[in-house]
């Protein structure tokens, strides 16, 4: 493969928040000035030594970074192809990659003098990660969550409440993540003076897609070094699940200029891409504008956003970060999808073969690696982002098997 391709790292987004034709700043006027202030604060503090030092300390001592890389030997052996390595984001405090971002944004909120934090959440992982940092920093915290998601992620709702957050149920639209995001935006427009909106993925208006990416790239920076140390070279392929795309871009970004490393983002195919019940905008959607940016969306021919379906609440979102839209069009990354059933099978495989219970979101990445590994050689490597642990999904998995717990 060519190694003369142009460098990507550090070039995007442009000053207007664009990744090629994607991204931008499509918000009501009330938010334009607050977003400008956020942009300035983010640009300033990402160069500020005190800020970066505090962030590093928190990531080390509060989150528990660096997260290890684990060689899944038994599973690799059974699949009979490439060696599979897992980046263990499931071992982070609160159990997923989400906290890397909430720590960063909450520190920024403090620097900006904001006293109230709001967030949207789907699976509840981002809500928990936000409630956690809010508790630690003594900030008021309101989390918006779709009524459907509240029902399927009860434990996380309770965790957030224990942490002192107010969880507000959203009953408009499809009552899932996209509606929670709308409601958080409405709150922000109303309380913009004292409120910081911590978006949980690389979506939203500029600078969120870039800022959340920058806070999540710690995953890829560590992994790139760890793989070289542990295996003597870079991985041949990266695999991560894509909801909004934050754990994926966090892993992918530091490898974008390593042209020999193949990149796979895995969307939720739900019941199948040939049905109406999936959440795969990159694989089966088209470009449009939602939640402040232009990107691939699940929409009908009138431009209305359509309801998505995935067994995993964290992937149940009709849009995707604009940088992924660009990576798809540019061909640097490949986007694929796996069904609910495939993800569940991989969930059980990792649990039984390696003794690691993965989140259903992450199980989508595992399911694709399961297809990929046998096609590769035994001396090749696949690095999977194990974005979260599966404790929160016990009810969902049990219910699928007809068990009530």
């Amino acid at each position: 493969m060519s190694t003369t391709a142009e460098k990507i790292i550090g070039t995007l987004p442009d000053a207007r928040g664009y990744f090629g034709p994607y991204g931008g700043l499509f918000v009501p006027e009330t938010l334009m000035e607050p977003l400008q202030e956020l942009r300035e604060a983010y640009e300033r503090y990402m160069q500020d030594e005190d800020f970066l030092h505090e962030l590093d300390e928190d990531l080390a001592n509060y989150v528990g970074r660096p997260s290890p890389i684990y060689h899944a030997r038994r599973w690799s052996e059974q699949l009979g192809g490439a060696q599979i390595y897992l980046k263990r984001e499931d071992l982070n405090h609160t159990g997923a990659h989400k906290v890397n971002n909430t720590i960063g944004q909450a520190l920024l909120a403090g620097r900006m003098g904001k006293t109230r934090i709001i967030a949207e959440t789907g699976a509840g992982q981002h809500g928990v990660a936000t409630a956690t940092v809010a508790a630690r920093l003594g900030l008021e915290c309101v989390v918006y969550m779709g009524a459907v998601d509240i029902a399927r992620q009860e434990t996380n709702v309770y965790r957030m409440r224990l942490l002192g957050a107010e969880v507000r149920a959203v009953s408009s639209g499809s009552k899932t993540l996209k509606d929670a995001l709308n409601e958080a935006m409405r709150d922000w427009v109303t309380n913009v003076d004292n409120t910081f909106y911590i978006i949980g993925t690389v979506a939203g208006p500029h600078p969120y897609p870039a800022m959340v990416r920058d806070f999540q790239t710690v995953i890829g920076r560590e992994a790139r070094e760890q793989m070289q140390r542990q295996t003597g070279r870079l991985p041949d392929a990266l695999v991560a699940c894509v909801g909004g795309g934050s754990n994926a871009i966090g892993l992918f970004y530091p490898f974008l200029d390593d042209q020999d490393v193949k990149i796979y983002g895995v969307e939720a195919a739900g019941d199948g891409l040939d049905t109406d019940l999936h959440a795969a905008p990159l694989c089966a959607g088209k470009p449009g504008v939602l939640h402040g940016n232009r990107t691939y969306l699940m929409e009908d021919t009138d431009g209305q956003i359509i309801e998505t379906h995935s067994i995993s609440a964290g992937l149940d979102y009709p849009g995707v970060g604009p940088e992924h839209a660009w990576l798809k069009d540019s061909g640097r990354a490949n986007y694929v999808a796996v069904t609910d059933d495939e993800a569940l099978a991989a969930f059980h495989d990792l649990t039984r073969i390696e003794g690691i219970i993965p989140a259903l979101e992450s199980s989508h990445a595992l399911a694709y690696a399961k297809k990929l590994a046998p096609e590769m050689k035994r001396d090749q490597t696949i690095l999977i982002n194990l974005s979260g642990r599966g404790d929160k999904d016990m009810h969902t998995v049990a219910a699928r098997e007809g068990i009530e717990i």
Binding site: T30, L31, M32, R186, T190, N191, G288, D302
Partner: protein, 268 residues
Amino acid sequence: MSRLEARFSQLKATGKKALIPFITAGDPIPDITVDLMRDLVSAGADVIELGVPFSDPMADGPVIQGASERALDHRVSLRDVMRMVSRFRELDNETPVVLMGYLNPIEIMGYETFAAQAAEAGVDGILVVDLPPEEGAELLEAVKGRGLDQIYLIAPTSTPERIKTICDAAGGFVYYVSVKGVTGASHLDLQTVESKLRDIRAVTNLPVGVGFGIKDAQTAAAVSRLADAVVVGSALVSRVEALAEEPEKIGSALGEVIASMRQAMDEA
């Protein structure tokens, strides 16, 4: 002269202020919208703002979200909305109509097609809530090319520099959002409105409308002393909601609200 320009200069000549009701097209049923537009005009409306239903109206409060949901239950599309405007135009060729909505339905139709069809239908202006001037240049060119005005919002958070940028891009009128919040939000503060309108008038000769938080005849009258136009949305849509099961009663209910605002404004 565009219909909007003509209407505002007529009003100016008679010393009156514009009353601009907002309803969502297709709410609660598609067949009623053209009749409602005419009822609003008979009761004293000067310009009609017609909401284009969208699945994710992130700048709207629960009342106008509900209107979108009711219209979408009937799958009312942007094309349907333009058909309603054409029918209205057959009966009323003077009252300006402004479409208000979100960008995605326009994106998917394509800017040129949208502008051409909107002009053909007799639309006079468009207001796209999630399209600030920084992102709006391309659509602006398309609609201007067809003689339509692009109306922009100004918010309490808009700085003087932004107000200037917005007014330079705007046509028809500019729309000051009187409160930080979504549609249907709490009461507006007249003093802040007054000082913000001063900033706006310092950089533009366009008429200035004020909306969000106008609930009754009294606030409409108070705002009309300061602004060139008063926009009223949730106060009307909440009546549509209440009468959704008895749509035949909606026209007169909206007419009453508008007539009382008209009277209060004319006496102000």
